[in-house]
């Protein structure tokens, strides 16, 4: 796999992470479902998942950059898996509104697992680390810069959201209001 194709895949993966973070905000703002502590942690792991592709798209392809995303995927899957197990007993309604019949933490577990497998598959292609053929076409291009700024903006919004929801205290297990605003969303 030539470096340019691997970089294009990195950019596509950033768009996927941006879509996931956007969907989480949609649930929060449109359906008024504030993220619980484990939900916040999963969002953190998704944001961390974006660091690997960002490193590749800025500094060129390196195995260590993929390692950051692999670590994020493993930890994210552990967090999501724990939340799945917390609600796995029969007749447990689960936490939050299901999307297409599946709760968000289950979707998160699936997403982190897919990310782990995809990154592992991408690492099988050694040619991407040989030289920098075609990398300058991808790095710095408009669609790459756009997605990087989208992910940065979504992360900044999450900083604000987490601060408004929890303030300077520990986040509640079942949040219904923004603590700093002291009113329902």
């Amino acid at each position: 796999m030539p470096p340019s194709r691997a970089l294009a895949l990195n950019a596509i993966s950033l768009y996927a992470v941006a879509l996931i973070l956007l969907a989480a905000f949609a649930m929060q703002l449109i359906w008024n479902e504030l993220p619980c502590p484990l939900c916040q942690l999963q969002r953190i792991c998704f944001a961390l998942l974006a660091i690997g592709p960002m490193l590749n798209l800025h500094f060129g392809l390196r195995p260590s950059h993929y390692a950051v995303s692999l670590l994020a995927a493993v930890i994210g899957a552990a967090v999501a898996g724990r939340q799945v197990l917390l609600h796995i007993l029969p007749h447990d309604p689960g936490f939050g509104t299901p999307m297409l019949g599946i709760h968000l933490y289950t979707w998160a577990f699936i997403s982190f697992t897919v990310a782990f497998v995809a990154i592992s598959a991408l690492l099988c292609f050694d040619q991407q680390f040989d030289g920098d053929e075609g990398q300058d076409v991808v790095i710095g291009s408009a669609y790459v810069n756009l997605v990087i700024w989208i992910v940065v903006a979504l992360t900044a919004l999450n900083v604000a959201s987490a601060f408004l929801e929890c303030g300077f205290r520990a986040c509640p297990d079942n949040p219904t209001i923004y603590d700093l605003l002291q009113r329902r969303p």
């Binding site: 942690l41 953190i44 490193l55 500094f59 950059h65 950051v68 917390l86 940065v152 205290r169």
Partner: protein, 52 residues
């Protein structure tokens, strides 16, 4: 509060990448990953109601 700090740390890591500071961004990202794992373990105090 810890989640705000973790998100802020990720934002700083992203800013370091954009500024061209690769080693600092990489080191901070690894530190954030371990902090996230530590946060999970800290919050995993509820017993799982499983039968096995």
């Amino acid at each position: 509060m810890e989640f705000t700090i973790l998100f802020l740390a990720i934002l700083i890591a992203m800013a370091l990448i954009i500024r061209g500071m690769r080693k600092a961004a990489f080191g901070l990202s690894i530190a954030i990953a371990f902090a996230a794992a530590a946060t999970l373990l800290h919050h995993s105090t509820d017993a799982l109601n499983l039968s096995f």
